[in-house]
């Protein structure tokens, strides 16, 4: 809901601002906003900014069209480090309990009671994908739980390099539980590099070995519904988690619990309590609040300007747009 509200505000803001901005034939104006805009244009040119219509033509030491991006990245970095240091010093950074997390523990417990295995699908992307990295962290937690309870854990992987990481994660989880003997290398199975061949392989495991719990956490593509529906038909409790928004509807429809979008990153922070991750979550939240504040400011400025005596002249909304718009593709609709 907050992200949708944020987006709606953005859309409203842009639509409210559009009539007042950058229209062909608009008068330059002489008010304070016009003077600020003119100063910004001069500064841009003196820094060697790209001329209009040639985004690759910048000549200065920095591409001024990308300054907003650089400032945002630096600000985010500063916030992240600040909160990481606070977390490392022991300052509490609260993260709300995510229902999907309880569901993971519940699913493992159910599998233990039924004497059937837990199936963990870490997504189908390579290790360079951030969601796969996070999936390995969650896998370690799941491996610890299954080792503690003595439950079989099966991890089919699509990529041979991910298999190596999965082995490390499961081994680490078993060690964390004090049960190194619980690690079974044969249960980390490299099936195929081909997307649908992997999907067919996992579906086959679900049909034959009938896991009681399916945990699908990572980056998924078109195979998500096939996996989730096959898992449902095999009678397993299913918990899915991905930040790939295309596949969320399929998981929501077919799984018992779905960890959605940013909750997926937060789950890792919640489980590991690593200062790095906690700091990142808090920094992201702060930046989003800042973005909402800017959106509200833009909407108010644009609305006030549209209702003013001379809406064709540049207004403070145009100054804000000039300051925030990154180069290449921005500009008037």
């Amino acid at each position: 809901m907050p992200t949708v509200a944020l987006g709606l505000l953005l859309a409203l803001g842009l639509q409210a601002g559009a009539p007042a901005a950058s229209e062909a034939g608009a008068q330059p104006g002489s008010g304070a906003p016009a003077r600020v805009l003119a100063w910004l244009e001069e500064a841009d040119a003196s820094l060697g900014g790209a001329p209009a219509g040639d985004p690759a033509g910048a000549t200065g030491w920095i591409d001024t069209a990308k300054l907003p991006t650089l400032i945002t990245a630096l600000l985010f970095g500063l916030l992240m480090f600040r909160y990481q240091r606070r977390a490392a010093r022991g300052v509490e950074i609260p993260i709300r309990r995510i229902p999907g997390l309880d569901a993971i523990d519940e699913a493992i417990g159910r599998a233990t009671e039924m004497g059937r295995p837990v199936l963990y699908v870490p997504g189908i992307d390579e290790i360079k994908e951030i969601q796969t990295i996070y999936s390995m962290m969650i896998l370690r937690h799941v491996a610890r739980k299954t080792a503690e309870f003595g439950t079989t854990l099966i991890v089919p992987v699509r990529d041979s390099i991910v298999m190596t990481f999965a082995e490390e994660a499961v081994k680490g989880g078993c060690m964390d539980a004090g049960r190194p003997d619980a690690f079974v290398k044969d249960n980390i199975r490299y099936l195929s590099n081909e997307q649908f061949a992997y999907c067919a392989g996992v579906a086959g495991i679900m049909a034959r070995e009938k896991p009681a719990a399916n945990l699908m956490l990572g980056m998924f593509f078109a195979e998500s519904l096939i996996l989730a529906e096959t898992g449902f038909m095999s009678g397993a409790i299913q918990v899915a988690g991905t930040a790939k928004q295309h596949q969320l509807p399929f998981f929501v429809a077919a799984c018992d619990y779905t960890i959605m979008g940013e909750e997926y990153f937060a789950v890792t922070a919640y489980l590991t309590r690593e200062p790095n991750l906690l700091g990142t979550i808090r920094a992201g939240d702060v930046l989003k609040i800042l973005a909402v504040a800017l959106l509200v400011a833009g909407i108010v400025l644009a609305t006030v300007h549209a209702l003013s005596a001379d809406p064709a002249a540049p207004g403070w909304a145009d100054v804000l747009r000039k300051l925030l718009a990154a180069g290449g593709g921005g500009g008037s609709a």
């Binding site: 985004p55 997307q195 295309h246 596949q247 990154a326 290449g328």
Partner: protein, 291 residues
């Protein structure tokens, strides 16, 4: 009745879907669609290019999504050749080149086009978004030779293409996922002076609305968008003899598929309604309702 849903054999649903699709497709009825604004923009952007302009056409799909994307790819090739636009064809998915080679081999002779002068096939480049960054920065560095092992110097079309996408007026991608249009926008659209158009699968189409019409001047969403575009581009077919490879056949085939899709959607809606009716009739009242 609560057990109806739990115990219902899903294979009846599979059978219903299968029979519906097969029977309607066999019936061969087709229907026209009204064109959406973003499809019209896609068409208009192509129409606005001057003859001789160079278009970078990227095939970012595989057999799984070819049913949705190949018709729009065929339509675009027809459109570009009919308007005497030149094409540089690349691919960031390894399974795409066999499709594109076949289409160019079939369509180019219909317009009397010459390889190396009117179009060039550079083939698959590994590296996902890194490959796209390379293509944007320097096409020549990314592809020292084309897919037929011909060097750059022996391809007259490429003499007009420079670094930083200079010489390329338009980038069109048929995109099935990653890497695809979102990566093209990030790696190329935001950095260089080139207009972007896209055709995508249904699941990716909602993403594109965030970039339209600023970063993306128009797009074709799924088979629906492809059919709408083929309807707009159909007048081009008047220049061609009817037969294998003609655009009107592709359009007619897609319109036929759209009718099948229509009724499949109606079936799914009906299943949702039936499922909800069963759910509400068997739901145990809670709280105040009980009192």
């Amino acid at each position: 009745m609560a057990s109806v849903i739990a115990n219902f054999d899903r294979r009846w649903i599979f059978l219903a879907v299968g029979l519906l699709v097969v029977s309607l497709y066999a019936a061969g009825i087709s229907s026209e669609l009204p064109e959406s604004e973003y499809v019209r923009d896609f068409h208009a952007t192509l129409e606005a290019l001057p003859p001789g302009a160079i278009v970078l056409l990227s095939a970012d799909f595989d057999p799984a999504s070819a049913a949705e994307l190949l018709p729009m790819y065929q339509g675009v090739i027809h459109h570009l050749f009919a308007r005497d636009l030149r094409i540089v064809n690349v691919a960031t998915w390894p399974a795409a080149p066999p499709f594109t080679q076949k289409e160019f081999a079939r369509i180019a002779p219909l317009y009397g086009k010459t390889y190396g002068v009117d179009w060039v096939e550079l083939g698959f480049l590994p590296g996902d978004d890194v490959a796209m960054g390379s293509i944007g920065q320097s096409l020549r560095s990314a592809y020292p030779r084309d897919d037929r092992r011909t060097s750059w110097a022996d391809l007259p079309l490429l003499a007009d293409v420079g670094d930083n996408m200079r010489g390329i007026s338009l980038l069109i991608t048929a995109s099935a996922g990653y890497p695809g249009i979102l990566e093209w926008i990030a790696q190329v659209g935001g950095r260089y002076d080139v207009t972007l158009l896209a055709g995508t699968t249904a699941v990716q189409t909602p993403d594109l609305f965030a970039f339209y019409p600023l970063q993306l001047k128009g797009f074709l969403g799924a088979a629906t968008g492809a059919t709408q575009y083929l309807q707009l581009a159909a007048p081009l077919a008047a220049r061609l003899p009817t037969g294998e490879g003609a655009l009107d056949e592709v359009r007619d085939e897609n319109q036929r598929r759209m009718l099948v899709q229509s009724w499949a959607h109606i079936l799914i809606l009906a299943l949702i309604v039936v499922g909800n009716v069963i759910y509400f009739r068997t739901r145990v009242p809670t709280g105040a309702a009980r009192r």
